[in-house]
Amino acid sequence: MTLTEKIIARHSGKSEVVPGESVWVDVDVLMTHDVCGPPSIGIFEKQFGKDARVWDKEKVVIIPDHFIFTEDKYANRNVDKLRAFAADQDLPYFYDVGTDEYKGVCHVALPEEGFTRPGEILFGTDSHTCTAGAFGQFATGIGNTDAAFIMGTGKLWVKVPETMKFIFHGDDMPDYLMAKDLILKIIGDIGVDGATYRTMEFSGTGVQQMDMESRMTLTNMVIEAGGKNGVVDPDETTMEYVRKRTDKEFTPVYSDKDADYHSVYEYNMEDIVPMVAKPHSPDNKATAEELEGTELDQAYIGSCTGGKLSDFKAAARIIQGRELKMDTFVVPATTEIANGLHEETVNGQTLYEIFTQAGCHIGNASCAACLGGPSDTFGRLQDKEACISSTNRNYPGRMGSKNAEVYLASPYTVAASAVTGTIADPRKFISN
């Protein structure tokens, strides 16, 4: 069996499951946020009664992150609803806005707080919940009704997915390349529905040498290929990260050598070059080189995909000592990463110093303009701007106005473009 099949089997009380089969599983963690939390809670109370208690308060995690720093009264009321529910249910894992507990983007906060444990099942009311698969967890996005059902029962039905395997060969990632380039390449190759209903499993020497943040970039964007979940077999790197963040017991599982796969794709990392997804679809692939000279108005580095500490370090390597040619927004995914900007250095300068000296606009930890949001959202595209972004989606209107154009790329490519004024190939700035 594959890793995904093993986790589903174990959580449904079976010794074996096969793709296509529908089973009920026991849930280890349910995560929700400020956009989908309130309606999930509404359904939970309607279905189970006003006085109903969640099935296990140790397993419910609430992370407000989407519409946070806004004057929008409805958005703020949604956070009030989460607050009231967390207090009423006495939930220990609520990361409230405006307190020291506040984290920021849920998919990066979950690992930081130790909720991404190998071998477990995590459901979240957000499509990028698949990010946690980097830790060898079965993690996928669900809607409000399913979340409400879990709140009351701790169970959910799942259809066992087939698994597609993606192997990256190569001992070292070329210095100009990032995990973002690899996943954009895959999505470009298989299309935005190329993995619909399926698991995307990443392996090979190329993946084994990646740190957790890079693996998270891979699994984060499986949803952009329609994937149900993404996974990486846990290893030393995984264990070291997770052990630091939690004392809880967990049992990792691994794909069998002779497991059945829907399909197998193999890549040599040396053959891959910096990639860009053109408007308005993540599979609209091109290389950065092909698009050189494309006019831009704005650059954006942030989100659960491209707003992690290693993403900012990459961008800082290029921005350091150079002049920006356009408005450049820097939005750390979490408060831990925001603090990291003051600690992590490149050539003796902190990332924060590098970005402020260059004139970047640095925002508060949250989703910010990754999904547009209320009109006063930091970095939001208001009209016909062309933006190059380290985020994950460039659908029409995703970052605000539906007249805007969004190019998706790695933090290297975004930074190289920001200091060039048009789309640029980062290999001009970083050679191997």
């Binding site: 956009v35 989908c36 509404g42 409805y74 009704t145 659908y395 029409p396």
Partner: protein, 200 residues
């Protein structure tokens, strides 16, 4: 024929076999940001008055030229209105890709849509439509967004799994609902779980 009264969840019987009404056609990869743009996700789904706004903005993020094909520039819901004059949405492949927002199928139901037909769906949208009992997602054998035109008069027969286009005088096959049929017929995951004794 098309119902004119409110077609809210409470008034649509999930077990009735015939759905009739006017087609509204969009193309491929219509994502959840196009179905309900993120800026509108702030309204409460529990408040009947606020909830209506999801109907108003349903499919409002679809680029104008691709809204109401083949002609384009036709909104699902007229400006200032809360309900659509259309009843059945026809989409291209990968309908509902993108975020997990259940507000997407909910907005279509609130706008008065009863069914969505597409050759393939993104899985979270499909799951949300079924488990929430909002609208029935039917898979078609062909990409009907290339054949059916906005304003065509349609009839879906759930039992025989066919779609009849009265305007064009054509019949198209729909795929069986498969493992989700029981949940669809029950009207959602809660109704199904009650029926089968999983919850009280």
């Amino acid at each position: 024929m098309a119902q004119t009264a409110t077609k809210d969840k409470e008034t649509t019987d999930p077990s009735s076999t015939i759905i009739t009404g006017k087609a509204f056609v969009v193309g491929r990869n219509v994502d959840t940001d196009q179905i309900i743009p993120a800026e509108h996700l702030v309204y409460s789904l529990d408040d009947p008055e606020e909830k209506k706004f999801y109907g108003r903005y349903s499919l409002s993020g679809v680029p104008d030229k691709q809204s109401g094909l083949p002609q384009g520039n036709i909104p699902l819901v007229e400006e200032g209105e809360f309900e659509s004059e259309f009843d059945i949405v026809i989409g291209g492949p990968n309908f509902g890709c993108g975020s997990s927002r259940e507000h997407a199928p909910a907005s279509m139901q609130i706008a008065g849509i009863q069914a969505i037909i597409a050759p393939t769906f993104a899985r979270i949208f499909y799951r949300n439509a079924v488990d929430g009992g909002f609208i029935i997602p039917f898979e078609s054998e062909e990409d009907l967004s290339q054949i059916i035109e906005t304003y065509d008069e349609l009839e879906i027969n759930k039992e025989d799994q066919v779609l009849i286009n009265h305007t064009q005088n054509k019949t198209h096959n729909l795929r069986p609902l498969g493992s989700v049929e029981d949940i669809v017929m029950a009207g959602g995951i809660f109704e199904y779980a009650r029926k089968t004794g999983m919850i009280e």
